[in-house]
């Protein structure tokens, strides 16, 4: 396997920041708010690599920095420092060095993002097919027959009844909305999917079916995924490797099985025993 | 013989103007005197002056007369007239503490330096008809004025008073005044861009349509927003206007304008730096327009507090929404323009509808 994404020393600080922010926050201080300037260190020193075709889990409670990580990688918010390198066949793209237009083009063609809240990923009043079409058009495909055909295939692939492709997702159930989001994310066949708490808030049986779908797609399309969740079951089901995050920092990383069977960091031990 | 749809538009509009003029003449004389308009229609006059954005009492009266009392139309006369005038000079910022007051109240304190001054206000009137005004004796007005003046000592200096909020500011309960070196944005000369400079936002609202400002501010007071404003100070009076002397450059008083000014104080916010403080809103406009000045202050506070708290959550907090929809000249013009011919666009709409109906019929397998 080869590396797809390399993240180096990534950090995100909300607020004006000061010299002491990094010294007085983090897991060992039990907080991510700087007591000198009040800034919040949402993410610090995050370094990891994602292999091509790999599913990497990111687990932690709210405020651990896991969702911040996703938002930085899809350019929803700016990084305070650090790098992210994306390896293409013939070149390496330094993501945060891209200008606004190239970021957008990168996001349209190389990334698929699925949010916990479908409102962030979908225009709920535009038809399911129209949502998928928007992403295809953003990548410059403006043949109507192609848009229809591709939307139909993607919805079929993600288990949305094709008969409902012209209905707005506002009328769909939560699970079905997530399927449309996944179909939209896959529209341009991106090599990387970012999944942020995509099963949170769904019924257990619906959760299981969405996870099965993700696993199936991963096996067939060999797409790399970063799966962010607070749910140990989700990483157990999907991720071969897992990062554990707390107070903005990665506290443990390793094979998912190993982390679940034999957690080394006290926080991970707490997390695992709480889930048992 | 075919029928011609549009012919003789010129003739038609000339006749329309004559019919309107006849409407004005319907009750016979006497014709309204501009001075009577200014005083007997005091509040209409003030509203038109502020929305027209031109402090010329005579032209305001003439505009009201020509517009048959329609405040939006009257304001348009003033704005159109402004477009023919070059901008010759700019005043330095004027200190409203120098205002010659005719009315001044604070709802925040029982007593304020300079005193509460109820002045002329309809606030506490009983809104009961006075039928005797239907046929008022021409000498009655003279008598009313003479009576009122007889009670006024005329050796007092013109009343001025310090600003009520200065005391709160000195105590640190309000954000400190930020001295600004930027010149005020002239909305009548420069294209507006977003984000809008505060001076431009205030200027737009100062010329804004009273009803529009009130509706948006009311939404903020009622719950689409979080304000419970306290009127820190409301003052109405004549403010001396100074211009730089063309030769010496020294400020010279060139006249005074009637102004309403309102400062509201609202619930405090957690500051990113420093202790918590009240938030404030500012409103001011030409003429005697209290509801407009209060509404403007509420919207000013709503927009600036929302900007500080990470963005608008309600329409009244969104500068894009508020500032592009409160100008009466624009909203009025656009609304009435729908009365103009739209034959071509409607033809185009019918074409699409017929086509869509034909497609629908085809899909259902029936004849169109």
């Amino acid at each position: 396997m080869s590396v797809l994404l390399e993240v180096e020393d990534l950090a995100r600080i909300h607020g004006r920041g000061c010299d002491r922010c990094l010294e007085v926050t983090g897991p060992e201080h039990g907080t991510n708010r700087c007591r000198f300037c009040g800034s919040v260190v949402a993410l610090r020193g995050a370094s990891f690599a994602l292999e091509r075709g790999e599913v990497l889990g990111v687990i932690g409670e709210s405020g651990s920095g896991k969702s911040t990580l996703v938002r930085l990688l899809c350019f929803d918010e700016p990084a305070s420092s650090g790098r992210a390198l994306f390896h293409e066949a013939d070149r390496v793209v330094d993501l945060f060095a891209l200008d606004a237009a190239r970021r957008r083009a990168f996001r349209d063609t190389r990334l698929g993002v699925v949010y916990q809240n479908p409102m962030l990923g979908l225009a709920l009043s535009i038809s399911a097919g129209g949502n998928i079409a928007e992403r295809l058009i953003a990548a410059e495909r403006v043949r109507y027959a192609f848009l229809r055909e591709r939307a139909r295939a993607l919805l079929e692939r993600t288990g949305v009844p094709v008969a409902r492709m012209d209905e707005p997702p506002a009328r769909f159930s939560g699970g079905m909305q997530q399927r449309v989001q996944i179909a939209k994310a896959l529209a341009t066949e991106p090599p990387l999917l970012l999944l942020d708490e995509i099963t949170t808030g769904l019924d257990l049986s619906v959760q299981a079916r969405i996870l099965d779908l993700v696993l199936e797609l991963q096996e067939q399309l060999a797409v790399s995924m970063l799966v962010v969740t607070h749910d140990l079951g989700v990483v157990r089901h999907l991720a071969s490797r897992t990062l554990v995050m707390r107070h903005g920092a990665i506290v443990e990383a390793g094979l998912t099985d190993q982390i679940l069977e034999d957690p080394s960091h006290p926080y991970t031990q707490e997390l695992v025993s709480a889930a048992l | 013989m075919s029928y011609v749809a549009v012919k003789g538009g010129g003739e038609a509009i000339r006749e329309a103007a004559r019919a309107l003029e006849a409407l004005r003449a319907m009750a016979g004389g006497p014709s309204l005197d501009p001075r009577q308009i200014e005083h007997q229609l005091h509040f209409l006059h003030g509203r038109v002056m502020s929305e027209g954005g031109l402090a010329d009492a005579d032209l305001v009266s003439l505009a009201i007369k020509q517009a048959l009392g329609d405040p939006l139309e009257a304001a348009l006369y003033l704005r159109a007239h402004r477009s023919t005038r070059p901008r010759l000079a700019e005043t330095a910022p004027l200190d409203t503490a120098r205002m010659r007051l005719v009315r001044r109240i604070s709802a925040a304190f029982k007593q304020v330096p300079g005193g509460q001054m109820l002045g002329a206000t309809p606030d506490y009137l009983h809104r009961l008809f006075r039928f005797e005004l239907l046929e008022e004796d021409p000498t009655a007005l003279e008598r009313i004025l003479a009576d009122w003046l007889a009670d006024r000592p005329n050796d007092l200096p013109p009343p001025t008073a310090p600003k009520v909020l200065d005391a709160l500011r000195a105590e640190g309960l309000l954000p400190p005044l930020q001295p600004s070196s930027e010149t005020a944005f002239d909305i009548t000369r420069e294209p507006l861009g977003f984000p809008v400079p505060r001076s431009a936002a205030l200027a737009i609202m100062a010329r804004g349509e009273t009803g529009g400002l009130l509706a948006l501010a009311y939404s903020n007071m009622r719950g689409y927003g979080d304000i419970h404003p306290t009127v820190g100070e409301l003052r109405v009076g004549y403010l001396p206007v100074e211009l730089p002397h063309p030769v010496t450059g020294e400020p010279v008083e060139v006249g005074e304008v009637l102004l309403t000014e309102c400062e509201i104080v609202a619930m405090f916010a957690r500051e990113e730096e420093g202790p918590p403080r009240f938030t404030v809103g500012y409103g001011a406009c030409f003429g005697h327009n209290e509801v407009k000045a209060i509404a403007m202050a509420v919207l000013d506070r709503a927009m600036s507090a929302a900007a500080a708290a990470g963005g608008p959550k309600n329409p009244s907090e969104d500068p894009d929404f508020v500032l592009l929809h409160v100008d009466g000249i624009e909203s009025h013009g656009f609304c009435i323009h729908y009365k103009m011919p739209h034959y071509v666009t409607f033809q185009s709409d019918m074409d699409r509808l017929r086509r869509a109906r034909a497609e629908a019929a085809r899909a259902e397998g029936r004849a169109p």
């Binding site: 953003a138 | 538009g9 348009l76 159109a80 477009s83 013009g333 011919p341 071509v344 086509r355 899909a363």
Partner: protein
Amino acid sequence: MRQRSADALLPLGHGFGYLDEDAKRELRRAIFKAVCVPGHQTPYGSRELPIARGFGTGGLQITLALIGPEDVLKVIDQGSDDSVNAANLRRLFLATCPGVRETRRTQEASLIQTRHRIPERPLRADQILILQVPYPDPLVVVEPNESKRRLMHGRADYAKLWVKLYEGMVTFSEITISHRYPTRIAGHYVIDPSPIPRFDVPKLHRADCLYLFGAGREKRIYAVPPHTTAEPLTFEDVPFRVEDFTDPATGRRRACSRCGSTTSFLDEFFDETGARLFQCSDTAFCDEELAGRGAAA
């Protein structure tokens, strides 16, 4: 004591072209910029005029900034020189621009101010067509926030407009935009060509004349300079279609009931007896066709 008689009020007149000269200079600067960046909506300090906003104050300001005493002016609305708004604007020009000659003949005009139509006959390089614009921004139907729209234009991000076309196709098997058809200028900016019918959109493409668009209320000026591409947004496999004047009864294209033209944009209306009639919307064109037919007979 303030006492001003009617006489004292009178000298408050205006110069040639109504606006003060500073205003005209700023307008000309905005026009130059608009011509230099085809399709870009250039903001300007729009002035109020003695007609209401929405009645053509944007077009009027462009015309007043460009017009000189030697100009020959044509004013049309709905294709007609005689509709109420055209007549009213013409009256204003004649009163405020002494020396300017008016014409109804398209070929004679150096400046043409119009609302909702482009004349049938192609315009020459020495003619300028000035269109009145109610909504300058084609993105307003998909994004109400002005700041976001500006970013979208900068990036030429028009995916949401195509989605609107897609949704029309899904619902009605047709692109449902009737007029104000979004049109891409010189391969980048998409403009709202003002409420002209789709029939007139192809006239913008690589034309000899200069097209100027003025929105008074929304304070924007934009341009389609001569010989610039103007492509209506559509799908590669769904043709852009102009208004269809085929008579379903006969299958033939309807003709103007007055001059007999079968190529012009037609107004549809009812006469006193309730019978349906079709006539050229461009009345000057219709008059010429009629005269030509008379001469030929």
